[in-house]
Amino acid sequence: MKTKKVLAMLMAVTMVIGLTAGCRSSDNSTTGTQSSAESSSDGNTFKVAFLPTDMSATFASWLAAELTTVFETYDDMELTVIDSKNELETQLSSLETCVSQGYDYIILLPLEPAAEDDIVAGYIADGTPMMMINLDDFGVDEAASVIANPYDLGTVVAEYAKTLLPDDANVVVLLGPSGNTDSIERRRAYEEVLFADSGMTVLDEQLGDWEKSKGMELMENWLQVYGDSIDAVISMNDAMAIGAYEAAKEAGVGDDMLFFGVDGLADAAVSIAAGEMTATALQDAQVMAEEGARICHEVLTGENTEGFEKVQIPVTLITEENVQEFVTRYTENGMLSK
């Protein structure tokens, strides 16, 4: 009992000290956007935090790696990466900590942009400039924004698919987790570009939760029902598309169908190069990181007087024609082993 009490006391004391210390440092930094340039003129570098969604997710960790690389080229900026472990609650409390710790700039890869808008707007108003990267619902006017539009990602692949598929094609659709913005936007692009003004039939569409195994399982079952009448698998990400291909290959019909994904990462590049998947669209983390770092630097040094900038980076269609370029690139940056 006694030791417990002592421990509790100790913890309380540490927390109080931590809080007061946090307050003091936040006092220093919350003096407005303009003065944040001065706070670095004590001869220090600017402290920048990057809050990705989930470092165990392929794209987020790739983006983090690219950002780290780009930031190394700036002498006056220093990047810290704080994982949100795919939990909104964690991301919000990290955000709070970063602000109170006196970070000069925060780059947020949001989990739920709509839910985080008000908080982000509040921090910006209090003097910490922020950027939404990769995902943004444009709910905060003063936040910088660097995104590849998920709708565009869908559009690029959908347009390519349109050139390959007959007008009366039968397709099955694999969706991401329920309520996921990326999945919804990409699906909307397909609806408008591909399905709306053609005679195509969507045989079935199911949630595959971004998972390869789910894509595989659903495809196995679909092959039972529809057999080789399926002309194409339209998947909202690559993992599920590749899973579906594995199932089709095992059933011996892998070469009779087309497989479309989105994301354009290493797995898709390999798959397209091997003639399995048909096409995917890439949101290029490298370009995104470069743009993000540029805006961040301009805001901090006062070069950008407005305090924010919104850019959309172009999306790239990957097909068998240009895939080799990406295989090389992913091999070079270590995402693919030789």
Binding site: M55, S56, A57, T58, A60, S61, W62, A65, L175, S178, L203, D204, Q206, L207, E211, K212, S213, M216, E217, L218, E220, N221, W222, Q224, V225, A239, I242, G243, E246, E250, A251, A266, D267, V270, G334, M335, L336, S337
Partner: protein, 325 residues
Amino acid sequence: MRAKPDMRKYSLVLILVGMMIVCTILSNNFLTVTNLTNILKQVSIVTICAFAQGMIIVCGEIDLSIGYLAGMSGSFACVMFIATGSLPLAFCFGLFLGALVGALNGLFVAYFKLPSFIVTLAMQTVCFGSICLYTGGQNIYQIGAFKNFGQANLFGVIPITIVFMVLMLIITHIVLRYTKFGRYLYAIGGNKEAANAAGIQVCKIKWAAFIVSGLFAAVAGMVMMGRLNAGIPSEGAGYETDAITATVIGGTSFSGGAGTAFGTFLGSLIIGVLNNIMNLLGVDSYMQMIIKGFIIIFAVLADVLTKNRKTTVRIMASASDEKKK
């Protein structure tokens, strides 16, 4: 009075057969060799996890690390294969990691008396973290011949995943029914204090149980990665709960001391058939969730009702006992 046969086992078979008859009527794609093979393939990994979970639940504990452990050991085995090109070596390495994590779980649960719920929950992140640390959060592609663990066919017809599942079924059945180790698991789960007072080395057996569970999870993980033709650590997540569902539907008592390998297998098949028919019929994704949830509740309800029936038997047994005096 005669000893009653275990109605439980037969009731599950009846439920499964009943479901299959209904499915056959609902969809003419259901009762085909390929579709039934598909179902077996689809349940194989979760069933192997469920065998592990079943053994742990039988001895009165729980292992929540199974899914992530499968993801980790499977992915590391891929790494090992890419590095060495040797399938046996990769397989052994995966098993080694499984046993290692299982041993850690067991150490804390059995010897330090920590609750298994917490220990194995914590071990989830340890497993996931260590594989992500190694790969930098990236998945492992181009795993080459490693895919044979999940995509090869035995004699050119029987999918290897099913072979693995049946193999693990046989092993689990033998362990639980014919070995002292299995008998001790039941005893410990039934009454830990009594098992100790009967000279069973409770700590040692529990420790061993977690190691076995780790080994099973590793096998599941390697089959999983083979089937996915990639090393994807996050794919393991969630298998532990699916495994719990399968074991509980299969009649394993959450309070420990009861449960069989075949029960777990049947429980897993019931879920597999359910998932399959809903997809064959094109049932809406959200509707599927609702239906699945209720089926699980009904299965547990059936469990409780069967137990009530046993209470009646109990009254009769003790009463007829008195009569004889």
